[in-house]
């Protein structure tokens, strides 16, 4: 859609249709890596970086696929692009910023199987975004993912201090928390509809 403004695309991806809490993308890292606030932040940053790169690559790739009428290879090529951009980020980071690599490095392989990344690539294609819109969209999605992860980690750190019945500890409690977070994010719906 050509009519959508960039700020709205950003807001939509980050808050209104938050990738984790409204679209259920990237639940695995959301439940797995959200126990500590610090790791959650790093994971979010790493995901954001990979999202931006793979979104740009996916845009270029889709252009080629449409040009040669090979749309049926879209899924396979997107997956290949994401896996290689994760590798690429890993290598570049190792070479130029070892400190950053030490902070984010262990999260990078996890990101390949994060469906939020593939989700961004697929959704920007169905929305027919242009390059700038795609980048803004993936940036918004990454920010939204980070927000959800950090909020969740904050809640879980607090939870460690409280007395939870053993039967509902662990995953059950995390899911209930996520449900409450998702419920509160529903309040943002309608932000753009005035």
């Amino acid at each position: 859609m050509q009519g959508e403004s960039l700020s709205f695309i950003f807001l939509n991806a980050a808050i209104i249709n938050n990738f984790v809490l409204a679209m259920f993308l990237g639940i695995c890292p959301f439940l797995g890596v959200s126990a500590k606030l610090k790791t959650a932040g790093s994971m979010g940053a790493a995901t954001l970086l990979v999202m931006l790169i793979s979104s740009a690559c996916a845009y270029g790739l889709n252009y080629l696929l449409v040009e040669f009428e090979l749309e049926f290879l879209r899924l396979i090529s997107y997956i290949a692009v994401i896996a290689s951009s994760v590798q690429l980020v890993e290598m570049v980071m190792k070479r130029f910023s070892p400190a950053l690599f030490r902070a984010l490095g262990i999260f990078l392989p996890l990101i390949t199987t994060n469906c939020a990344i593939l989700g961004v690539a697929l959704f920007q294609t169905t929305h027919e975004f242009n390059l700038v819109q795609s980048l803004v969209y993936s940036f918004g999605a990454g920010v939204g993912f980070t927000i959800a992860l950090v909020l969740m980690a904050g809640l879980r750190e607090k939870l460690e201090l409280s007395d939870v019945p053993t039967v509902s500890s662990g995953l059950v409690m995390s899911l209930m928390l996520a449900g409450l977070l998702s419920l509160s994010f529903m309040g943002f719906a309608g932000l753009g509809g005035h």
């Binding site: 809490l21 409204a22 679209m23 259920f24 993308l25 990237g26 639940i27 695995c28 439940l31 049926f72 899924l75 396979i76 997956i79 290949a80 896996a83 199987t113 994060n114 469906c115 593939l118 989700g119 697929l122 959704f123 169905t126 053993t166 039967v167 509902s168 995953l171 059950v172 409690m173 899911l175 209930m176 996520a178 449900g179 409450l180 998702s182 419920l183 529903m186």
Partner: protein, 216 residues
Amino acid sequence: MDSKQTPITMDTFLAQVWRDNPVFVMALGMCPVLAVTSSATNGLAMGIASTFVLIGSNLLVSMLRKLIPKQVRIATYIVIIATFVTMVDYILQAMAPAIYAALGAFIQLIVVNCIILGRAEAYASKNGVLASVVNGAGTGAGFTLALLLLGGVREILGAGTLFGIDLFGPHFQPWLVMILPPGGFFALGAWLLLFSWLKQRKTRRAELKGEPLHAG
């Protein structure tokens, strides 16, 4: 190098459905589980699509397991899985466009469902063709069961219907939040709570009777 083939029994299939249920026990593949279970029909369709991909990829990985060098095995598995997902995508588009529209991009996102890559890596790459297919079918059935349980509960509470059939008549006030995103988290949490309560009760009873523990 094959280790000695274990005989294929009913257990090869059933273990995956119940004892090692991919969703309730292993907590894998959460994204599609939560995203498409706003109705039982959608859950069932997603389950069947994933089962097809599981069986297909397990079959092919198992057939090729002696040819694939271990350095490129993950890449090969992903290519194989993506192939079957693309096939499902087109078949569903042709046969059931309404369901395809409801599931949307989540059909293509089967590719990053860790259950499938997990089965290829942990089972199909080490076992015979038939055993792998049975294991894949079992995992798929377990996944479908989980999706159905979740989708059924959410649809009954959130819309008052099951498979689109009205259950309670016109005076039922649907509990809307159950078919909205938060309901997915709540319903899955409630199922897991039920299972962990059952398990706890079982262990406690066993302790009271002084029997040796079986449950892990």
